[in-house]
């Protein structure tokens, strides 16, 4: 190893250290921003080191350099535009798009490496290490690319969010998976070159589409996390292809992060990961569940004035926001109401279920955007302790995660961790109708004698509450 080789390795190592420490600083909201900036500094260092390496070796052709720089410029501009323009409600789509391009880039890097080896003739002599890494990189990268594009489309609403089940889709998915894996095995066995690898990649792309299309909108937090883990793994595989430790380390960190979030989300939704992935494949999504809970009680409806009165004279109010709030873009109305109540001496906190939103932690970002201080956002356990002490729980746009039926066995949400809204002194639910949530069952909370239903759209309902509360507190 020459001196400059060692220096390059150490610079890449420093970048990797920045990634790890940067992620570590994400442990508290106080240091998180610095953590991300440290991670970005590490990335800048890694890129600068790669530039140094290119300058030292001088192996790149003039055309190659132009192509590379043009690609980097176009990509940077596109990334910058998306990052600046995106609305916080659309974060899950953007994360999906970044997953897609990351996975796609990893697969393309493997292809470029294969082309260098001369395609068909070269690959037969390549080491097993290279062909295995190339195969896995292409498979995982391609599945992640197309899967993430479909996920983004579903989240954006350009593709139906409902589980799309077509007859024969399952068999077709199996077929594409078999072709993809078979092609890669052939490449590893030295029996195929660029063409076989391309066929495998196309099959993997088709499989990614067929895998995500049938998955329902409510399962998106799990799907995004899983695709995130896949992108990380694909990048780590690209690291094996290029024998670059910084790619392996960074890819592994992301793979671990995605895996943890996948498990957390699946637990919070009381679904197994296999059930989510295979669930859409025709065995029926949870949305098809039957109404098992026998809620026969009557529903009490209130006017905005009465609800505002109840809120204004409470000591402690816990708000339970759900995706309905985000969909109606009513965070700002909610915070306006909360500020008004706080000005009147009411203590307001927010109880946030792990799957409130379309990706892990989505609701927290939406509330942060509306200037809710993060210490007021309570996680499940904390929130349940607070709900038991609350005078009023205000539920906006949340449904299944507040259903006490989850505590009993024998229904689609049995065992799902829920927010104990029914343990608050009183409950106000803002909801358009008595419609079901994703689980497709009656919410027993709504027939609880202490629950008052304010039938309205989240935005209109909150605005009415605020207007009514204003007349009370002044």
């Amino acid at each position: 190893m020459s001196g400059s080789d060692a220096a390059i390795h150490l610079l890449f190592l420093t970048a990797a250290v920045c990634f790890v420490v940067g992620l570590h600083l994400m442990n508290t909201p106080r240091t998180a921003r610095r953590g991300n900036q440290l991670s970005a500094a590490g990335m800048l260092l890694a890129v600068a080191t790669a530039v140094g390496l290119l300058a030292r070796d001088r192996e790149i052709t003039a055309t190659g350099l132009v192509v590379l720089v043009a690609g980097l410029a176009v990509g940077s501009a596109a990334g910058l535009y998306c990052a600046r323009a995106v609305r916080m409600t659309a974060m899950p789509q953007l994360v999906s798009v970044f997953n897609a391009v990351g996975g796609g880039a990893a697969a393309l890097v493997a292809f470029a490496e294969v082309v260098r080896h001369g395609g068909a003739s070269g690959l037969a002599d390549a080491s097993a290490q290279l062909t295995v890494a190339v195969g896995l990189d292409v498979l995982i990268g391609a599945v992640t690319f197309s899967g993430s594009v479909i996920a983004a489309g579903k989240l954006q609403g350009t593709i139906s969010g409902a589980p799309l089940v077509v007859r024969g889709a399952r068999a077709l998915a199996g077929l594409t998976a078999a072709v993809a894996v078979g092609g890669v095995v052939a490449v590893i066995a030295g029996q195929g070159g660029l063409i076989v690898l391309t066929v495998a990649a196309v099959a993997a792309l088709a499989f990614g589409v067929l895998m995500v299309l049938p998955i329902g909108g409510a399962d998106m937090p799990v799907v995004i996390s899983l695709l995130n883990a896949c992108t990380g793994t694909a990048v780590a595989m690209a690291g094996f292809v290029l024998d670059s430790s910084v790619l392996i380390i960074a890819g592994a960190l992301v793979g671990a992060s995605g895996a943890i979030l996948t498990v957390l989300m699946a637990e919070a939704m009381n679904r197994s990961i296999t059930a989510i992935i295979l669930g859409g494949f025709g065995t029926g999504d949870a949305a098809g569940g039957t109404a098992a809970a026998g809620g026969t009680g009557t529903v009490r409806s209130v006017t905005a004035d009465d609800a505002a009165l109840q809120l204004a004279y409470a000591r402690k109010v816990v708000v339970v926001p759900g995706y309905g709030l985000a969909a109606a873009r009513a965070q700002h109305e909610l915070v306006e109401l909360a500020n008004l109540l706080e000005g009147h001496g009411v203590e307001v906190t927010y109880a946030i279920h792990p799957v409130a939103g379309r990706m892990p932690g989505h609701m927290n970002v939406l509330l942060a955007e509306a200037h809710v201080p993060y210490p007021k956002m309570l996680e499940l356990e904390e929130a349940n302790a607070e709900l038991a002490r609350a005078d009023v729980a205000l539920v906006v746009g949340a449904n299944d995660v507040t259903n006490p039926a989850a505590r009993r066995p024998g229904n689609p949400i049995s065992g799902m961790p829920i927010l104990d809204v029914d343990r608050a002194g009183g409950v106000i639910v803002i909801k358009r109708s008595m419609g079901h949530g994703y689980a497709g069952i009656d919410n027993e909370l709504y027939t609880d004698p202490k629950t008052a239903m304010l039938f309205a759209d989240a935005k209109a309902g909150l605005a009415a509450l605020t207007a009514a509360a204003k007349t009370l507190v002044h």
Binding site: L72, V235, A236, L253
Partner: protein
């Protein structure tokens, strides 16, 4: 198994363990910025695109390098910028 492969596998396994250890402590409040920040980190594939660029010497190679560079740069730049934008909003 060659020595570089053994070393690479060692790095992979240890990095996974470090990742699990560091990330399991991140509170749910920060899960979206965490995922988006991790997303930016896998933008390291931009270095992969740069490392593979000198090997391209034909039209196919150039096309592959171009798209790899576009995708990776979009991933890394967008990922960091949007994560910073989000974290800026988290206030006490």
């Amino acid at each position: 198994m060659s020595t570089p492969l053994v070393i690479d596998i060692t790095i992979l396994v240890l990095s996974l363990l470090v990742g699990f250890e560091v990330i399991s402590k991140v509170p749910a409040t920060l899960h979206t910025p965490l995922m988006s920040g991790a997303n930016a980190i896998h933008g390291i594939v931009v270095v992969g695109a740069m490392l593979v660029a000198p090997t391209a010497d034909g039209p196919l190679g150039y096309v592959l390098v171009f798209f790899a560079a576009v995708f990776a740069a979009m991933n890394v730049v967008g990922g960091y910028v949007v994560t910073d934008r989000m974290l800026e909003m988290f206030r006490r």
